[in-house]
Symmetry: C2
Subunit: 376 residues, 2 copies
């Protein structure tokens, strides 16, 4: 994997670049649709390519490990082959999912013992084990095994947790450097900065992570309930420390507004379930603002969902038709809304990239933040 | 609308033809995917065209009348425009759905008073009203308003019901001939033969229906729980009476085996929810037999769902991947299984047509019936 900066914005920390993996070139900033257990929910792989123009998707190690399981993924020749996806894949480490299990997991120095949400069976994730799993999945980018702290989080807990994440990182780095990829292409490891909303911890963690000299770096533990101001402050602080020449991935973020703001702070990669999860509930993100398609006001609106985006789904189907499908609980409603929202997210980062390259990013960003966050 | 017979089989009553509507030519025998409320469940319209090669879909008058409602459909310029479907549409008359409401409907000479399954509101369907609704929907083929008798059904009830259906048919014919299409293309009316499983009633009804001299004719009240032998006997009897030069539509049928047998008895058109409904539960119809994809035996099977059919969905995705999606309750599982099953149904009728034209239908049919009905 390598990363090449194409342009940097003079009035902000925004950057445009190209991230190269064994499965192609990814223009940055980029948004990665979340393909939890081998499927971006309600979206076909060919729609990710043809309609959404996705370049990389995310898989969840926790889910894939439980189902379909590592043995089958290896037999298939990795996740790309199993699901029929020829572009890049990033896998998370399972840290966030395991943390979400609450009472059903126990964290020790060695790793995490947890109970499956499917059948209650007991499993252990260690830094080494999670690296092996991601090798078997065949992710182009593998995430380090970390502990994701909740919000709010006591200072002392955040500090101890950060140190645990750092010790686990050493074990992840050792395991990756001591093993080979299974399917003939390189797999990069991204370590994760933690430290909750405490500046001194974030500085300390960012310096530690930067010192590992891995191909890219991530920021975790944000977008977990803290005020947006804290998210932006921590992101800005950390981006000032992480090396400029490597890609920066802000995990689990966020709304279109969050994404634009964090691009301006120096982030290159994003993922979030929001565009697909909210789509299934009828919330649409458009170039003109946010639409709750269930509202009566869209009942007779025969105009396209978002003509500006173009493309079959967003420019052909009307708001009234999509509303009818969502209200009638037709699966096609979830399909169209999900394709639309992801098309919009990918359009937004592509447009941001263009504006960065043309030197017009900051003004455009200020206008767009207002547009994309208003409720129509 | 017109119908042209291309070939007739010498060893059975099977026929191949072309049905022409204002929205294109439909090769027969044909299967019509069911698009209940303006969507074939879990299938995108472009997938109906590109993957499934559907030429005509079915809409349910009862569902469309309740949601999105006739006013919106008229504003959109009809159902074709509303859902973005440029090929043909046939609408049922609501008779079957209303009959399924059981205690929530009352049948009188005038029509049926029923309560909406959505909000309990009270509505009345009359033969005239249902013709007006189908005019507003803009169906290329409109079905007469009938009473669909249950199975088993007392002889006297079946007889009285048949006469009511015949009296209603007269009112449907009058209404259609006294009104104009709303969207510039012709709309054909198909009357429906009833009479339960009683030979004398079926003969009487078929003669009455044939005498109306409408552009096509349908057989209703079958596939409601009666033995297959009764279904075939009634179909054969009625096909012997309905005019040869007009298309014959057997409503709500059926399994691949039923379809092949009824093609050989002289049926040209079919519809059934089975391929989509069963797909969502993991039952796949393939050229080699029936698969319950939830079974453990498919867990590691990385071969395509049905390589013989070709096409992206059936020939690319593996049984193991589809099983994983269905077991994990991923929407994409329902999507892939639904596209596959409909692709298979359309492949089957297309193949039947080819065999009829080539004069090899009967032998092929006997082999295929065995293949498609076995459980793998």
């Amino acid at each position: 994997m390598n990363f090449q900066l194409t342009s940097t914005d003079s009035r902000s920390s925004a950057r445009a670049g190209i991230l190269r993996t064994g499965h192609g070139d990814i223009p940055t900033p980029i948004f990665m649709p979340v393909g939890t257990a081998g499927s971006v929910k309600a979206v076909h792989q060919r729609e990710l390519v043809n309609d959404i123009h996705a370049e990389i998707i995310l898989g969840n190690t926790y889910h894939l490990y439980l189902r379909p399981g590592i043995e089958l993924l290896e037999k298939a020749g990795g996740l790309h082959q199993f699901i029929g996806w020829n572009k890049s894949i990033l896998t998370d480490s399972g840290g966030y999912q395991v943390y979400s299990l609450g009472a059903n997991r126990k964290i020790t120095e060695e790793g995490v013992v947890f109970k499956s949400h499917i059948d209650g069976s007991k499993h252990t994730f260690t830094p080494e084990g999670v690296m092996d799993i991601q090798r078997s999945i065949g992710a182009d980018i593998m995430m380090a095994f970390d502990e994701c702290t909740p919000y709010p989080c006591e200072y002392n807990y955040a500090k101890e947790s950060m140190h645990l994440t750092h010790r686990w990182l050493k074990r992840c780095v050792d395991r990756v450097s001591g093993t080979e990829p299974k399917y003939g292409y390189k797999q990069a490891l991204f370590p994760i900065v933690q430290g909750s909303v405490y500046k001194d911890l974030r500085v300390q963690s960012a310096e530690f992570i930067a010192a590992q000299d891995q191909p890219g770096n991530a920021i975790g533990g944000l977008s977990v309930g803290e005020p947006h101001e804290d998210m932006y402050a921590m992101t800005s602080l950390v981006c000032g420390i992480l090396p400029k020449e490597k890609p920066r991935y802000l995990m689990g973020v966020g709304t279109p507004e969050n994404i634009l703001e964090c691009i301006s702070l120096g982030i290159d990669m994003f993922d979030c379930v929001m565009p697909t999860r909210n789509a299934r509930n009828g919330m649409l993100f458009t170039s003109e603002g946010i639409i709750n398609i269930r509202n009566e006001k869209w009942k007779d609106d025969l105009t396209p969902i978002d003509a500006l985006l173009g493309g079959y789904v967003s420019a052909t189907h009307s708001k009234a038709y999509l509303r009818h499908l969502i209200i009638s609980k037709e699966i096609l409603g979830a399909q169209i809304a999900s394709i639309h929202n992801l098309t919009f997210y990918l359009w937004l980062v592509k447009e941001a990239r263009k504006q960065i390259i043309e030197g017009t990013f900051t003004g455009w960003k200020d206008t767009m933040v207002e547009k994309v966050s208003r409720r129509l």
